[in-house]
Amino acid sequence: MEENKLIVLSAPHFKSPLTTKKIMFTVILALIPAAAASVVFFGIKALLHILISVVAAVATEFVVQKLLKKKINITDGSAILTGLLMGMNLPAGAPLWIGAVGSIFAIAVVKEAFGGLGQNFMNPALAARAMLLAAWPSQMVSWVTPIDAIATATPLAIAKAGVPDTATLPLLWDMFIGFVGGSLGETSALALMIGGIYLIYKEIIDYRIPLSFLGTVFVLATIFGVDGINSGLFHLLGGGVMLGAIFMATDYVTSPSTAKGRWIYGIGCGLITILIRFWGGYPEGVSFAILLMNICAPLIENYTLPTKFGKVAKVK
């Protein structure tokens, strides 16, 4: 541990006046509208899911850092953010323990085992979500309708199931507001966009990744969509693409830090999302797309570095 103290990692926030803590809490603040929307739509269960995930994430961070005899930095907000994203990635009908298991996995295995903050290669909350989906497939797709909490399918699952039927598909307006089944945090595109605009305005996130991600999804869905129902707009508002593009794909640690790299990364995310949504085995591909691009990120970054040696890539 000692010998590593001088290594400054690639995380761009070390180069700006922003501290990790400030960034984390700004992102958490930006997530509040979407989190609030989920509580409005899915009730107390949503709040419980989010609280349990956050508490489990922070507690795991504390225990692991204690065990590894590292400096305890649970107040920097990164564990809270991971827990919050974990909770918001759960379906409302899932059992309450599942968020805790996900958060423990996210923090202990995906983050701290790789050295902690800024050193993981995958987004912890997303990796945990994919793991939960693989471990408990039925629990992780227990979608319910907002307000009256009746078991339902997500718009994407309905579209995937066969010839889209205008009667069963939700209205785009409902999808925009969030009045559809889905993971807690991903239903309300409106609330997520408010958070996203705030983050771009505050210069916490770069516009490139969300723009290229969402743009690719929109263009490809428009080209390959059927009958105007499986349209570009439908695929922008449905599923986790807003949440993913704004809050998960933009994670500093797991995305390229070069401008060109970010375009490639965003387009890659969009491509894989559409590939899985249209032709894959799952109705939703956002989390897998981001995880796969997380894996590619080091290579993308290497091949888009502006100078070959010695210089750290400048990040706007």
């Binding site: 793991m131 408990w136 497939p137």
Partner: protein, 201 residues
């Protein structure tokens, strides 16, 4: 004299455990550790092949020309693998189907060639046999340890006997690929930790 053999045996099982310490034979370790029974049978086959190939290679060690020793070893190993393959197909048909391609692949299990090259080619027949048994047992034990975690958490059973209540939400992923990699990684880490602790203590 006795001591030497005992040491070889414990080396194979504990201090030089092929999977946990030397990290050899990882492909079958990942593939067949989804159930304890699979690990047991794979371990048994490796013990058989390793012991007999070690003995034969040791017996022929003064006759095999140095230049073509590797192909010779491979042919000897492949012969014993074919024998267990046929034996399994005849008497343990279900298990033969479950382990599938990983039975012929025992040929390229690095443990066996590594023992041939580094032990059997330099030691007596009896000593090589003991080494084969020790290394094989070590591999079998390692497989079964990893498989225990995976089968209990992923299927709720141990050696096909139900140990978790029927309604327990088992994590399906444990018996699949990601569970294999992560379990083996964590078990290796745990063993490193224990060894480090016991050395300092």
């Amino acid at each position: 004299m006795k001591n030497k053999y005992l040491k070889t045996l414990t080396d194979g099982v504990v201090t030089e455990n092929p999977l946990f310490r030397l990290v050899l034979g990882t492909c079958p370790a990942l593939a067949v550790s989804s159930a304890v029974a699979n690990g047991f049978w794979m371990g048994l086959m490796v013990i058989f092949v390793l012991t007999f190939s070690n003995m034969l290679i040791s017996a022929l060690r003064n006759f095999i020309p140095d230049k073509i020793r590797i192909p010779c070893y491979i042919v000897i190993i492949a012969t014993f693998v074919t024998i267990v393959d046929l034996l399994m197909a005849a008497y343990m048909h279900e298990m033969h189907k479950t382990l599938g391609i990983f039975i012929p692949l025992i040929v390229v299990n690095c443990i066996i060639l590594a023992r041939a090259e580094s032990f059997a080619s330099k030691n007596s027949i009896l000593h090589s046999a003991v080494d084969g048994i020790g290394m094989g047992l070590g591999f079998m034990a390692a497989l079964m340890i990893v498989a225990t975690f995976r089968e209990v958490l992923g299927n709720g059973t141990f050696f096909n006997i139900r140990v978790l209540p029927a309604g327990f939400p088992v994590a399906k992923v444990m018996v699949e690929a990601p569970g294999a990699f992560i379990t083996l990684g964590l078990v290796l880490g745990l063993i490193n930790l224990i060894t480090a602790r016991s050395k300092t203590a």
